[in-house]
């Protein structure tokens, strides 16, 4: 038997109705809660966001500037010691329009998210790696689908200082530089 034509393969398919009338079907959900530590480096990065700054870290050996920052250089495996404030502007690398929620329910208002390559020196045009963030884009969904969105210049729209909590959400989104 080799998944040949006509061969009946094992396994019993159920319809949704059959599934729910199964003897012995039980429902179970994990009751787990977590408290995540951001670690020393991302904590400092979040503190920077609270102050309205995007902070990165520079590798003393290869010169790469990491945003999001790391504690160590992934390539040189040495400690990153220098903090640098980087511009809150960049270009859109990719942008998508989501019509579904995290639970896969339909959203009433579609959401635009993407990757922003920040204007950080040291990365050559077209290089495989760059300093960048994943975030919301304040771009109209229909506009976001246009070819011109990729490569568009954008800038962080910050929450008012008194509302910032030291979270990635202290940046509301990245909006086009008009």
């Amino acid at each position: 038997m080799s998944a040949k034509e006509g061969a009946r393969l094992p396994g019993t398919k159920l319809s949704a109705k059959e599934m729910y009338s199964l003897l012995g079907l039980v429902e179970s959900s994990p009751q787990a809660k977590y408290e995540f530590s951001a670690g020393p480096t991302i904590s400092r990065f979040l503190q920077g966001l609270k102050e309205g700054k995007i902070l990165g870290r520079r590798c003393p050996r290869c010169g790469r500037i990491y945003v999001p920052p790391r504690d160590y250089c992934e390539y040189c495996h040495v400690a990153l010691t220098d903090w640098v404030e980087v511009p809150d502007t960049g270009t859109v690398q990719t942008a998508v329009v989501s019509y579904i929620s995290v639970r896969r329910e339909r959203l009433e208002k579609p959401e635009v998210v993407g990757v922003i390559k920040l204007d950080v020196p040291g990365y050559k045009e077209g290089s495989y790696e760059f300093a960048g963030l994943f975030h919301r884009l304040c771009i109209d969904p229909e506009e976001a689908k246009k070819d011109s969105t990729i490569g568009m210049k954008v800038k962080a729209r910050w929450k008012p200082a008194e509302q910032r909590t030291g979270s990635i959400l202290d940046i509301e989104c990245f909006e086009p530089v008009r």
């Binding site: 998944a3 393969l9 949704a16 579904i100 990757v115």
Partner: protein, 392 residues
């Protein structure tokens, strides 16, 4: 990348098995694993007594809803009182299973290895999608309430922008693979569809529609992998494992050029070097690139160097990757047509190449003569690449 390989034995696949791929299986995960394992042994003409070691592959525990799935699946997979290893690199697992079985046999540690992969995604309710929430970084990604499809949509968009491909060009992969799956008795979502059907299916995360994606699936697959001496004793047509490769990129996908899969390219170079393949685009006869999304097959064809970067979608339009084309890809029907029980889907691809190289694929058999084949799988946050090169 430098690999210092000391390979004691040449290694071959001598049997393969697969269950039906389906949404909502009555059988439990270990029953599915047993069905696939039993078939693979039957095809090899061996029994459990001939098996020295077992490798089990299953992706996140969260899907089956059973923790420590290696232990849970051990008896069904024939691993009782034998050295057993579970490998897991998310979606990359399916090909990591035979890679790991190869280590066991090539090193001389075991003569014959049973390699089993299982996944049951249907138990997660209301949708396994929500389980994927936990692969995102908890501090800098999760507050944005990301949906997993975002990641793939972002890659697809980047590929489209960098390579000039349109949605309709990419949808052709789904059309091809679902049609190929019509000839596969294991298939869950085989269909004759058009590009228009893909574009008109539910829009999930632009540019991704529902028919750009593989479904939620339960199923299992298995292989019997053995050293040269045993292989020659049990069959006249062993399928040789000529090369294996596996690499991981970092988890910071927001810092990478998403148009090209570096994680895969490095793994592919490793596997080709081991197999003595210098020009894969000429030397490979048939391929099973990992295709949970339609753009992903194109992405992977390029990462596997079967086409130049940004060229795969153009070749696809010319019919190059059809079953009777120059370089057939996913003749099985792929994940888009056969289904996507994550770890089992990757192993299904290797099983398909085994049957193709033995000319046992029936209606699915590709037109051209086949000597060398490659499969890959991909996993985690766009970072894990696993590759296997086979020959007859």
């Amino acid at each position: 990348m430098v690999s210092n390989l000391f390979v004691k034995d040449r290694v071959a696949i001598v049997g393969a098995g697969i269950t039906t791929f389906m949404r909502r299986a009555l059988e439990t995960p270990r029953e599915l694993a047993w069905e696939a394992a039993r078939q693979a042994l039957d095809q090899a003409g061996l029994t459990l007594r001939d098996i020295d070691c077992v490798v089990i592959g299953s992706a996140p525990d969260t899907f089956d809803g059973v923790h420590m799935k290696g232990e849970y699946l051990a008896d069904g997979s024939g691993a009782l009182n034998k050295p057993m290893t579970r490998v897991y690199v998310g979606g990359g697992t399916g090909v990591f299973v035979p890679v790991s079985a190869w280590w066991h046999a090539a090193s001389g540690l075991c003569r014959t290895v049973l390699a089993v992969a299982e996944e049951k995604m249907s138990p997660a309710h209301p949708h396994p999608q929500y389980v994927f929430r936990y692969i995102w970084d908890p501090i800098i990604h999760r507050p944005l309430e990301p949906n997993l499809i975002w990641i793939f949509a972002m890659e697809m968009r980047r590929y489209m922008a960098k390579c000039g491909a349109k949605k309709e060009d990419i949808a052709l992969v789904s059309v091809k693979n679902k049609r190929n799956a019509l000839d596969n008795p294991a298939a869950q979502v085989a269909a004759n569809i058009t590009v228009d059907d893909v574009l008109k299916s539910e829009l999930l995360v632009w540019p991704v529609n529902e028919l750009d994606i593989s479904p939620v699936t339960d199923g299992a697959a298995a292989l019997v992998i053995t050293n040269e001496n045993t292989a020659r004793q049990v069959t006249d047509s062993p399928v040789w494992i000529d090369g294996i490769g596996f690499t991981l990129d970092n988890q910071h996908w927001e810092n990478r050029e998403l148009a090209f899969p570096r994680y895969l390219n490095y793994a592919a170079r490793m596997a080709y070097r081991m197999a003595g393949i210098e020009r894969p685009w000429k030397e490979i006869d048939v391929a099973e690139p990992y295709d949970p999304f339609d753009y992903k097959e194109l992405h992977h064809i390029e990462g596997l160097m079967l086409a130049r970067p940004c060229e795969a979608w153009k070749l696809l339009k010319e019919g190059y990757f059809e079953r009777d084309g120059e370089l057939p890809t996913s003749p099985s029907g792929g994940l888009l047509g056969v289904g996507n029980p994550i770890a089992a889907a990757g192993l299904m691809k290797v099983a398909e190449l085994f049957w193709q190289l033995r000319y046992e694929a029936g209606k699915r058999q590709v037109k051209k003569p086949v000597h060398k084949a490659v499969a890959n799988a991909w996993g985690d946050l766009m970072q894990a690449g696993t590759v296997i090169v086979l020959s007859n």
